[in-house]
Symmetry: C2
Subunit: 514 residues, 2 copies
Amino acid sequence: MNGAERLISTAAGGGVEVCFANPGTTEMPLVLALDRVGGIRAVLCLHENVCTGAADGYARLARKPALTLLHLGPGLANGLANLHNARRARSPVVNVIGDHASWHVSADPPLAMDIETAARPVSDWQRHIASPAAIASAMQAALAAATSRRGRVATLVFPHDFQQAAEVPAAPVQPPEPFPEPDAAVIERAAARLRRGGPACLFLGGLALWGEGLAVAGRIARRSGAELLGEVGFARMETGRGLPRVARLPYFPEQAQEIFDRFETVILCGARQPVSFFGYGHLPSRYLSGHPGALTIAGADDDAVGALQRLADALGAEAPWQGSAPEPPEPPRGPLDLDRLAAAIVRHLPEDAVVVLTAVSSAAPFSQLAAAARPHTQIALTGGAIGEGTALALGAALARPDARVLHLEADGSAAYLPQALWSQAREGLPVTTVICANRAYRILQIELARAGIDAPGEQTRRLTELGRPPIDWVAVARGFGVPGRTVETAEELTAALEGAAASDGPFVIEARLP
Amino acid sequence: MNGAERLISTAAGGGVEVCFANPGTTEMPLVLALDRVGGIRAVLCLHENVCTGAADGYARLARKPALTLLHLGPGLANGLANLHNARRARSPVVNVIGDHASWHVSADPPLAMDIETAARPVSDWQRHIASPAAIASAMQAALAAATSRRGRVATLVFPHDFQQAAEVPAAPVQPPEPFPEPDAAVIERAAARLRRGGPACLFLGGLALWGEGLAVAGRIARRSGAELLGEVGFARMETGRGLPRVARLPYFPEQAQEIFDRFETVILCGARQPVSFFGYGHLPSRYLSGHPGALTIAGADDDAVGALQRLADALGAEAPWQGSAPEPPEPPRGPLDLDRLAAAIVRHLPEDAVVVLTAVSSAAPFSQLAAAARPHTQIALTGGAIGEGTALALGAALARPDARVLHLEADGSAAYLPQALWSQAREGLPVTTVICANRAYRILQIELARAGIDAPGEQTRRLTELGRPPIDWVAVARGFGVPGRTVETAEELTAALEGAAASDGPFVIEARLP
């Protein structure tokens, strides 16, 4: 095997099944190796931020490492924003970046850029492959890093000449870093607090928001009476009728602070210390700074499921969660607004669907209603870098071929990576994208109002609205090979959602909102 | 003035007239300051790489510093690839990046990223504003850096709380770094070589390819018989009937090397040492390594015009360039191919048009024919990071409101930043985009053929072609507010070019190519 084939073979042996790629000349040996080695499905993305966002979405749902293949420094640069999101999501992602031939770098050719420095802000682990002999061990180390604890972003820089080196040897598998054992004393303190009674909540993130973690959290809630609260920018969450009910923390700090202040006890599990998205002079950064009853049984990188299980054992919390299933909303009628849009989606969502929740100002009513839907999985924006949704949906659909993916998107965000729709079409993926077209960066208009700016000047208005000219999302989607329609009423939206779900492929719904 | 107003006021005082912006919450004081201070036109871009690419295009043609306004680390990250191109172009660009409030950073909120590290690979100069008192001097220093010598990329990180600081003082203007004096001894050696005779060329880049530089190069060519050769990835070039004729260096190294090997004397002026785009094992990186007659009178950052003037003086080269004006091609007829496409554009180009030349494999015939067109200005891809074209065209049109901009683009590149078309539509700019739709990353298919891969496997084919599904560029453009049409023959292309030029706004032509 040559160097490229060895790297691909090592990745396939380590559980990699999909590679999101936008290769160039310096990656062609790796492209050829994908054919020669086999076992990894290559998905062409027309922009590198589609590669990295799709890898993030895939890794969150498949819980297998996702591979990206990027072209030199500029290709990596284009993918950085969604690697930032992937890193915040603790997604196991391995980036392979071709570099110029090792002997060519000193000529400083046009595409040369300091790849290592560019990678650093978004990589938990990175390595430049320094010789052909180091190829297999570098990929083994990258796989181990990516799959350590909750998951990490690992970046490998692979010179073109080493990709072409002959007879490159294999290397042994390297073990990922396991979770440390949960701290028994802290868990006993948390149990004691819950036994004592008084208003309490579990603040959940990461692995505590789905699967076994969520089920155990539900048992603890039933036993102790604690409420369940989830982080705003969760990587993955399950919700719907019959599942333990988790309230999503509000986005704005006044509301979030008010919620935390209601509880005497706040037990953090799988979540970071919650902080405000932005700093406002009259509010603290950290909602729990100085809170006397806050206690962390598992941080964002810790074994949240194990910690919850131990806490449940300490409390004797054996009975599964039970709660009144919220009633699904009535069929919405009339001109669309955010409440009607949320109701139509909640009524429509098929069981086990995946919801990609990247709308910013338009998502709150849906988040509040989602517990009334059939059980489904949500993934959200973890790092706040907008525009990831179309790519997340691409990756999510590849990770969950059985599921319909419903992507609830904003128009400001959707304008970032429309070309991801092309990859959805090429791969024939069942993704329904609902674009909340309010023709504004509404969140910025809200921030202006919060700051007391009632009559912004012309330049400010032009920098916060998207209506001049209006974007025709159905035309954009059709251009990239995806059919679509525009809806203005709840009835039209319901019909469009049902029509989209009846097809095998992607569909875009432009929902016109006030 | 508050901090934001002081920064904007300092920028306006330093010659900044346009700001390419995609602001977020942490930049809202700067947005408000654009209204309150006045003098700078804000242009909303729907992706940060549109901001930075447009700033690059604007700065190359206006020769004034361009401002970008980007949101935190992820916003900068999205704009890095075109800052790489801007840096290679020596474009005077000042990036202003909002940061979290200084007291909020340690909370590590979701959007926090190591901005300084991310900026380093693309910034010739950068600074984090550390206090309100430092705001004005930081912007003065950024303007000085950006306008030093040929031009530079300068990056300022501006915390949100300092933007809101009250009564922020002004600071004195700082002088940019001037060009060093050309080296008289080297110029005399160059003059001696040219006097001696034998096959000689001037290899020109930067300021030597347009305006006074090109005129003086033409006088030297006439006097000495030297040929004029231009770099592949030029920032700006003038060509057309009556102008000194400069051959553009070919992209592939075998052809480029063959050309240099024909000359006994190669005098570099305003250009870097020419190198191969990529390293191929059988060819050297540097075309002139070991060339006995290569001599640099001005490097890429030096005073190319001054060096040429001194060389012209030494040679007594006073008479302007004179050459046989190449005949314009016959009106092309029949199904489109690259030659007919080039001929149609060359015949159509209005005098003083700006051509944005970012097609990769499709541009060579046009480059060869362009000297037969009416005199016009070209700008090309300097750093090889594809996808900049739609943004370059946006910036070019704002810098040259009198000119029609003709953007010759590839379909692989055009898929990067289609949302730049929206900004072209909003600003009402006369940009005609011709997309060479061969439905492939043709350059990669050529590289595979060069490597002897005649029958690539299925994954390789899928990673190098764009036809499944085909992209409907007219629909994409319409979606972003720009009219367009598809053409399949030279006659249709000619009619479409004329129709586009008759309108005031942007137009997209999808040219279907084999």
